[in-house]
C-alpha cells in the first residue's frame, strides 16, 4: 500500500442515477484517486457503466437520466448549475466498449479533437505524440492517411485511446475496452494502461475479473440489489478497496462469491 497522501480526483457521495422512473444505481460512495487505475466490476445490470458514464456527464445525453447525490471532481460539484458538460468532457475522456474510430484517416481521427477544440501547436507533432503514447506510432506511421477502418480491432481501440489522449485530458474512462478484442490485443491495451496511469487517472469498467486483478490498483464491486421490492433491480456498490485485498480477503461475502466465481 502507498503511504503518500492520495489525491482524490473524483469523490462520489451518496450518488444515485435514475433513468426516467427507474432507479439504475443508488447510494454510491466511492473515491477515485489520481494516477491510479480504478476498476469497476460486477454482474450485468449492476450499474457500473452507469456510474462510469456519470463521471463525464455522458449520461446527460440519455433522455430522462438524472444524477442525484454528489459527484465531486477535484472538490467541485460536477453537476452544479453553472458547469458546462462540454468542458467536463474535455477533461474527462472516454473509450467505448466497441472501437468507434471516425470514418476518416488515422491522422484525422487524432486531429479531430485538437482541431475542434482549437488547440494550439503543430498538428503533426500532436498526432505523433498521441500515437506514440498509445504505442501505435510504429504500427501506423507509414499509413497515416489510410482510413482507420482498415486497422485491426485492437489497433482501432488503441487509436480511440490515442484520440482521447490527443485532447490532453485529466482522466480517461474506459467502458469494457477489451470486451470486443482478442487476448493479444487485450494484453497490449492492458500494457498501455500501465504506461498511461503515469500521466492520467484511469477508471475502467470490466466484465473480466482477471483483467481487474491484473491492471487495477483499486477495485470497486457492484451488484444488483433486489431487496427493494418485487421486480426492482437497483445497482449498488458493495465495497471498494485495494485490488489485492478485494481479491484475497474482501469484507463482504458477496464480493468473495463473485471474485471466486460462485456467481455472476
Amino acid at each position: 500500500m502507498t503511504t503518500t497522501a492520495l489525491n482524490e480526483v473524483f469523490s462520489l457521495k451518496n450518488m444515485s442515477v435514475e433513468y426516467g422512473k427507474n432507479l439504475a444505481v443508488a447510494g454510491v460512495n466511492l473515491p477515485i484517486y489520481q494516477n491510479e487505475i480504478t476498476a469497476l466490476i460486477g454482474p450485468s445490470g449492476c450499474g457500473k457503466s452507469t456510474v462510469l458514464r456519470s463521471l463525464n456527464r455522458m449520461n446527460d445525453l440519455i433522455p430522462g437520466a438524472k444524477v442525484s447525490g454528489e459527484v465531486l471532481y477535484h472538490g467541485q460539484d460536477m453537476y452544479g448549475p453553472d458547469v458546462d458538460p462540454v468542458q467536463v468532457r474535455k477533461l474527462v475522456g472516454m473509450v467505448f466498449q466497441k472501437p468507434n474510430p471516425f470514418p476518416k484517416s488515422i491522422y484525422d481521427n487524432i486531429a479531430f479533437g485538437p482541431q475542434t477544440l482549437g488547440m494550439k501547436g503543430n498538428m503533426d507533432e500532436i498526432v505523433e505524440s498521441a500515437l506514440r503514447s498509445a504505442s501505435l506510432w510504429d504500427d501506423v506511421k507509414d499509413r497515416l492517411k489510410d482510413n482507420a477502418f482498415g486497422m485491426s480491432g485492437g489497433q482501432q481501440q488503441r487509436l480511440c485511446i490515442a484520440r482521447a489522449i490527443a485532447v490532453k485530458p485529466d482522466v480517461i474512462l474506459m467502458d469494457e475496452p477489451c470486451s470486443a478484442l482478442d487476448p493479444i490485443s487485450t494484453f497490449k491495451i492492458e500494457d498501455l494502461m500501465f504506461e498511461l496511469k503515469k500521466d492520467y487517472t484511469i477508471v475502467i469498467v470490466t466484465h473480466n475479473m482477471q483483467q481487474a486483478a491484473r491492471v487495477a490498483d483499486r477495485t470497486a464491486f457492484f451488484t444488483v440489489d433486489t431487496s427493494r421490492g418485487e421486480g426492482s433491480r437497483v445497482g449498488t456498490l458493495v465495497e471498494h478497496d485495494v485490488t489485492d485485498v478485494m481479491f484475497s480477503s474482501p469484507s463482504d461475502q458477496r464480493t468473495l462469491d463473485y471474485v471466486t466465481g460462485k456467481f455472476g
Binding site: 455522458m58 462540454v86 477533461l91 467505448f96 468507434n100 471516425f102 479531430f112 477544440l117 484520440r163
Partner: protein
Amino acid sequence: MANKIPRRAANAASTAAAVTRTIYKGANNKAEIQGIAFRLVLLSALSISLVMIAAIVAWALVEGGERVNIGLFTNNPSSFRPETAGYRPAILGTIQLILGVIAIIVPLGISAATFLELFADRTKWYNRIIELNIQNLAGVPSIVFGILGLAFIVRGIFDLGFVVAAGSATVAILVLPTVILASREAIRAVPSSLLDGALALGATRWQSVWKMVLPSAAPGMLTGVILAVARAIGEAAPLLLVGAATFVTFDPDFWNDSYSALPVMIYNYAGRPQEEFHTLAAAGILVMLVVLFFINSIAVWLRARYERTW
C-alpha cells in the same frame, strides 16, 4: 428366415428408413409445389412491371424516335409547323424550376431532418405530431399542393405571380416530405457511437453533428434529394395550377413572365389533333425518360458507392 431379425431391430430399421426418406427430393411434394407457385407469382409481378416500362419506351421510340434531333432541344414551339417545333422554352423552364427546387429542398429538408432526428425531444407530443404529419404529407396528392401554391405563393402572402419561382416553391413543398424522410433515414443509419465519440472528446453537440454525423449521412441525403428531383421533373398537375403555361415561345425568366415545363408542353402537344404533334409529344417523352433514367442512375450509383457497413 425373416423372423430371425429381432422385432425391435426391425422396428428401428423401418423408423430410420422413414426418417431418411424425408431428406430426398420429392419427398414433400406439397411444399415444393408451393415454392414453385410462389416463385411464379413473384416473377410475373416483376415481368408485368418490366413489360409496362418496356412498352412505354418502345412506343415512344417508334412514335417519336425520328423526331429526336438538335432542333427538338433548340427550337421554339410552333402551333402550325410541327416538323420544326421544339421544346426549348420548356426545357429551360424545367431546368430553372429544378434548380429552384434544389435551392429550397436541400437546406430546408436537411435542417428539418437533422432537427427531428438529433435535437427534437421525442417524448414531447408536439414533436410526435410533427413527425406523423410529415409522413402523411408525403402521401398527399400533388394537385393539393398545386392549390396551396396558387393560394399562398402565386397569390396571397408571397404574391409572386405566375412565374418559375412560384412553380419551384410549390414543387419544393410537394417533394420536401420525401427529402426529409430520406434524410432522416440517412442520419439514423449513422451509428450513435460516432456522435458519442465526438462528444466524449469535448466537442459540442453542434460541432459533433456538423463535422461528424452530417458528412457521414451526406450520401444518403443526396440520394433522397436526387430521387425528389426526379419526381419533381415529372410533375405536371401542380404546375398547371401555379401557372406553367402550356404554350410559351420565349425563354423563361426566373422571377418574371410566364413559363412552361417539359411535362406541361408534352401535354399540350399530345392534345392537338394533327398526327405530327403526337410524334413531337412522343419525342418529348423520350427526352424526359432519358433525363429521368440518367438522374435515377446517379442516385443508384451514389447509394452503391457510399454505402457503408458500420
